[in-house]
Symmetry: C2
Subunit: 528 residues, 2 copies
């Protein structure tokens, strides 16, 4: 049996004594794809660690411009190989080639890489802070160990461990990467790792700056997240796996950044409902079903008042869920997870309005599913009913009075996003004022009159939030330059001789335009 | 028996069903001090939590100027009560009234409070980031729960849970505080909590913004650090206690910031030794014995070449350690910890050159202690020999050749600081270039030709470092405004209506001088 090669220390090589093998499955046909991938041994993981450790030393001597150049070359190569990438990802994830993969997601991915390259060239991201009088200077710098990235199943490019947001952020901040492919799309990840290696060759960066393994055992994953040689871990995926990794990393004080689960509550206040019911129903349907609901920011919980208005509203939404055919789910496991979540919710009193069953056809598909529960019932099981069904499923909670709405808001877990739709001329303002402060503390991003899906890559974005949405409420995984700061340590230089300072902290501004905080003032000037 | 009252919900009240009592001891006389303090029940802890939870809501409606005013009033009150405070702290810690307590440490404390007040008024600390085109705006904001602070035994003012750096940072970033006194100086902490309460009364802030308990069981401490109602924990103290709290907080995803232990290695390179042996010996002695060595940044490990130079150098240092009388240690436990550390070090081959025993006299005092070990022996037990002896103790490691020095550096644990002394005209540069990059990754603050004690409160400071010095390499507990960011969540506002935005994110700059990152540029201007 020929196994697909792994990328270790700059070389595509046959796996050393793999623990097993696996193959990807086409979700559109449920057919196993031909390529066979190794489940790496810990010996192989350690080979990556050793090579990455050496790359750390070497990378230090490369300028930010060289690192930026590598990211830019990756973006160019992704574009030139876009068709092959989209086809591979389509076969492994069932996501449509157009517009999703070939256009939307690829563009997002190249844009992220280019934004990271620009941040790297600009250098302002490192927040150089200079106290000239006392000659103490600090900035954020790389961690001194590789960043291990576990990518999710739902975005084969934009969050891929070998090309996505975490990858771009880790590289731009000067760290080597050990990418673990999501086993749902190993072939896509291989193509992306090929891009990375070609980029490394073209720009002369250390070859072990990017390494890639397809899979290893969960136990080896825990050992890796706690390994003395790593700098940090970035994980996007399920809460169960995330919490296990977190425990392993926390125990030895290794930074870990997790994006685990989120229900993204959407509050539709009565005035908004009276004003623009049809429009909101359309938006909710679109947001719940884009990517077959497999977005981290899908509204899994919609809270509205249980009255005549909402009854007719529910009718509209139900009709949209029912009459539109569902998309594909990424795999068998996604179906199982949804089934388990529905079982849990219905046992706790939620009612299935539509869907709730597999959708007939050749692929992995689940009927668009809408559930509903009263506010009173929700408050009996606020934890049990906050369960993520990762896919085209949403639970509607019908509150009976304003105090109950506030209580529901108060019971929410940490989430990536929280949204409030309110009447455009201020009719809902008193209720907004009551709910928004409660919601503010529970979410990373607070939205008005707009669905949370669509996470724009901008400096002001927060794709993060309180536990259990992530592991720390102060960091974002999307948005450059903030996302880079996750993979850094604060480096202070006290009385260090001028010639020994990193360029960013010398009197002369290294780019002429880098922003630095000098004696309390943000400036692009040299030290006078 | 009359127990000292606790500060709960804005009132000094008799403890409710305490679990026990304790008294402080005067380290200068080993005599128990008269006041009796309660060990609080968890019921009392929960009363604090409930009151703090309500204070969170109320605090949100106060302007940064009001919060700044409170911090400034605290600083003023501390000054006016300086003599009483210094006397109380002297009785409980044995630290000299002058210059240490009354002048140096009090000044540092009021300076910190005033810097925090200035940061609060200035508002730039929250790093407002605006994307005007996409109408996405974000900033750091309070955690939505109180910050629980565990203060250390060595700085009764500057790191006190009711007045020190963590206190100032937590309040300035808009969070209520639950202060746990260090049981070494409960009376001092009571006086500081009185200052805080008087400050709250004078400025009209919610009374439960600062609460204080003297003590509770370690188990209740773990429950508190993991409590759903808290925002975060800040801890300065021993590694053992810190790691237990960390595990409890990590398990439930509550942020915790720890400052636990550090050896602060000092490398004296051969050229520096040849050039200014006498001066460096004096500096090492001063740095190892200031505050009787009970500084987080005391050089616990000094690395130098084992040759004729260093032999005579060791002689000078030894003489200084031996002939100068030691100061007082904060308590019995400090003596025990030192004894245990010495036992461990000598068992692993370290030799005691001088000291190593209690110092005769009425108080808790330990002879200035110098140990020494060869580089070869150190490398046999690099972990076991990196043990913090919190006090006037230092271990000298004598390396035999440059490669061994690099190996020693490579074996170092995470530390707050790392220092390299080198020859002034560049003779040591090749060795510096070899050692500095290794050390850089192991420490928060890298110094040249200067001892690490003396942690200046400036924006460029890093009093932090890789695990196990702290819990996360990206944060500092000293240095304003950076220390404030620990106690915040990243708050993003996406399409939120203008009137609903916090002032810091509106088009108009709220102070006219606050620094904001608008479309990639740091500016004090309004949005055009």
């Amino acid at each position: 049996m020929i196994l697909q090669p792994v990328l270790v220390d700059g070389v595509w090589r046959q796996p050393a004594r793999p623990c097993g093998t696996f193959q990807a499955v086409n979700p559109a046909t449920k057919k196993t794809l031909p390529d066979v991938y190794p489940i790496s041994s810990f010996e192989e993981v350690e080979a990556c660690l050793k090579a990455a450790h050496e790359a750390v030393d070497k990378l230090d001597s490369f300028s930010p411009d060289s690192i930026a150049q590598f990211l830019a070359v990756c973006a160019d190569l992704l574009e030139s190989r876009g068709q092959a990438l989209a086809e591979a990802a389509h076969a492994e994830t069932g996501l449509p080639v157009e517009p999703r993969l070939r256009t939307t997601e690829l563009l997002r991915t190249t844009d992220q890489l280019r934004q990271a390259a620009a941040a790297c060239r600009d250098r302002s991201w490192c927040r150089a802070t200079l106290d000239i009088t006392k000659n103490i200077r600090s900035k954020h710098g790389p961690l001194g160990g590789p960043v291990v990235i576990f990518g999710p199943n739902n975005f084969p490019f934009a969050f891929n461990s070998a090309a996505g947001g975490d990858f771009a952020a880790a590289i731009a901040s000067g760290n080597p990467v050990i990418a673990k492919a999501n086993p749902g799309h190993p072939g896509t990840t291989k193509l992306l790792a090929e891009v990375a290696l070609d980029g490394l060759k073209e720009t002369g960066l250390p070859r072990a700056t990017v390494q890639m393994l397809y899979h290893f055992s969960p136990e080896d994953g825990l050992k890796l997240a706690a390994h003395p040689l790593i700098g940090a871990t970035a994980f996007t995926g399920s809460r169960t796996a995330g919490l296990r990794l977190k425990a392993a990393a926390d125990r030895v004080g290794k930074p870990i950044y997790l994006e685990m689960s989120s229900l993204n509550p959407v509050f539709v206040l009565p005035g908004a409902m009276a004003e623009r019911k049809e429009q909101i129903a359309q938006e909710i349907f679109a947001s719940c079903t884009i990517g077959t609901g497999q977005f981290c920011t899908k509204p899994g919980l919609v809270i509205l008042k249980g009255d005549d208005q909402s009854e007719s509203f529910l009718g509209i939404v139900e009709n949209l869920f029912e009459t539109n055919p569902p998309g594909l789910l990424v795999g068998r496991q996604a179906m199982d997870t949804i089934q388990a979540a529905l079982k849990k919710m219905t046992r706790l009193g939620a009612l299935i309005l539509t869907g709730g069953r597999e959708f007939p056809g050749p692929g992995y598909s689940f009927a668009n599913t809408l559930l509903c529960v009263s506010g009173q019932q929700f408050l009996k099981h606020p934890q049990g009913l906050q369960v993520e069904a990762f896919g085209n499923v949403s639970l509607f909670v019908l509150f009976s009075h304003d105090a109950q709405l506030a209580e529901i808001a108060g019971q929410l877990d940490g989430n990536l996003t929280g949204t409030i739709y309110s009447q455009s001329r201020g009719h809902d303002d008193p209720l907004y004022e009551r709910i928004a402060p409660i919601l503010r503390r529970k979410v990373g991003r607070l939205l008005n009159d707009k669905m949370p899906t669509g996470v724009v890559v901008t400096a002001a974005m927060n794709h993060g939030g309180p536990f259990p949405a992530t592991g720390h409420p102060g960091f974002t995984s999307v948005g450059i330059p903030a996302s880079l700061l996750r993979f850094t340590a604060l480096h202070c230089y006290d009385n260090v001789r001028p010639g020994r300072l990193p360029e960013e902290l010398r009197d002369k501004n290294p780019t002429g335009s880098m922003w630095r905080l000098i004696n309390g003032e943000w400036t692009q000037r040299d030290v006078a």
